[in-house]
Subunit: 91 residues, 2 copies
């Protein structure tokens, strides 16, 4: 197995501390944590009665929705690129 | 403002019911919910002592990480596509 340097850092998300271990840089982990924190605060502002657990689940739902939209856009771009290549080779 | 049809459906995520309102189709909302549910179960299996709230936050962290990776890949593809166009126009 490939030996990779592991980073362990502690981040604060919505007032709770999380110890995150990964092969990514600390700055990447901090960026990810700050995006989750921002999104939780945004959803909480719109739904002030939600408890933290439901708020976190709805945050995850929100992010998966964004992910699928981006994935569709990515696949569309990939198809377009391959089509242009095919068209070029037809010339 | 553009009038869009809103869908309200109830989904089950990690044993809790959530009422989700959006302009997306029910099948899209169900797909999003099932991805979050799967991811929570996957993370929970690896960390059985986590409470639901922390589990949901770590699920969100995980998905944001995947989102950023996909976004980087998407931007790379877009740059490549634009570069190929520029190269073609130089011919």
């Amino acid at each position: 197995m490939k030996e990779q340097q592991k980073t362990r850092i502690t981040v604060d998300i919505y007032g709770q501390q999380y110890s995150i271990v990964g092969t990514e840089s600390s700055s990447h982990i901090r960026l990810v944590a700050s995006i989750v924190d921002d999104k939780m605060r945004e959803i909480s502002a719109k739904n002030p009665t939600l408890d933290t657990s439901k708020l976190a689940v709805l945050t995850a739902v929100n992010i998966v929705h964004e992910y699928i939209k981006l994935k569709d856009e990515y696949d569309r771009l990939l198809r377009k690129m391959n089509k242009e290549k095919d068209d070029d080779s037809d010339d």
